[in-house]
Amino acid sequence: MKKTLLSILFSVFLISLQAQSDLFNLENSRKFGEYLLQSGQYQLAVKEFERVVFLDSIHEPSTINLLRSYRLAGNADDGLSRAAVLFPQPALISRNQAIEYSKLLLTTRNWDRANQFWSTQINLNGSDKVLFKTTENIFTDHFKEAKISIAEIKDTSSVIVESYRSLIDRAIDSPRKSPFLAGALSTAVPGLGKVYTGDWKDAIVSLIFTGGMAFQAVRNFNKHGINNYRPWVYTTIGAGFYLGNIFGSVKSAKDRNRKRINTIQHEASDLFNAYY
């Protein structure tokens, strides 16, 4: 009986000891922050990791998780401001911290700061720097510069490098629609520029609108003469449609080129995010 009682009391004592452990200590806070990050609660993860980094600003994974939380919460600008305080000397931070920092810079498209960072960083290896620079060139539509940049990596076994090379070649070689030619064609015949860019349905509508207004203008000039307001109303609206169509043809060619580039940039984004 005594033994049973003692064992029960001892168990209760152990449970009370366990219950008194600090739930909010550094280790538990880190675990909770990681849980928030993994479960997609990024705003809360920012708050938790801010607390963790306040308690221990040296711990490398915590600083990375804090910056990642800012980025995933959609506050990349705040993340960069926070990084400036966390890393007084960005050139000296570790490779993993530098990668997360680079992701923040790429997210905000802060190219000047990114180039300065990549050129001075000592822990990023040469391939990393070239890949970041190439990514920048791809997303700023500088594909020729991207080709020169990626050529610095001689390794042909790397999947990302070879894939980057392939899509850069595709971007350079793929046919483009000339905005100037589209505009010129639409100047000659309303809608022809849009036929050239492939938007032939819009082209037909443009031709009907402009042609209809021109027809009405001529008809009203013949009927009422130049001193009547009617033909001038049709002339003004028709001229608007005519000029708008020239502008629209140029825009259509640019949009078509833009979509082609966007497809390539989406592929580049997939490759980048699969690698880093």
Partner: protein
């Protein structure tokens, strides 16, 4: 027969709870449907920065209140052509914005929906003069 019907109605009235007639109860069912008389506010016509924007915002409001309000919602885009026009003039100036608007009027035909992203809520094609889409570089998931 008449007596039976009247008696039935009177009896059914007595069976109703009093709260059905009370003011409180009637208030519960008020505002269940949108009030059609609420005047829509057009934010596109606000925050004008110069006289041209004021003039075109006035034209836009006149069109919206007196003409468009009497018509069906037939524009295939969001923002609609008139909203596109005022936004284009505000963001790109009178000349470029005007040309963009004329171009948009010819594109508002619903024949090429594959060219545009669809607003899933409004079920309309997206075409905003203010936005220039940029492909996100870094994933927002990892």
């Amino acid at each position: 027969m008449r007596f039976t019907v009247i008696a039935f109605l009177l009896l059914s009235l007595s069976g109703l709870k009093n709260e059905a007639f009370s003011q409180y109860s009637a208030g519960k069912y008020r505002n269940m449907l949108d009030d059609g008389n609420i005047k829509p506010e057009f934010w596109q016509a606000k925050d004008n920065k110069n006289e041209i924007q004021v003039a075109f915002s006035g034209l836009f409001l006149f069109y919206k209140n007196f003409m468009s309000s009497q018509d069906l919602t037939v524009c295939t885009f969001t923002p609609s052509c008139s909203e596109y026009g005022i936004l284009a003039i505000k963001h790109h100036g009178l000349i470029k914005g005007g040309l963009m608007t004329f171009d948009r009027l010819t594109r508002c035909n619903g024949l090429s929906p594959q060219k545009y992203e669809i607003d899933t809520k409004l079920r309309l094609l997206k075409d905003d003069p203010r936005n220039t889409f940029q492909v996100p570089i870094v994933s927002s998931l990892k």
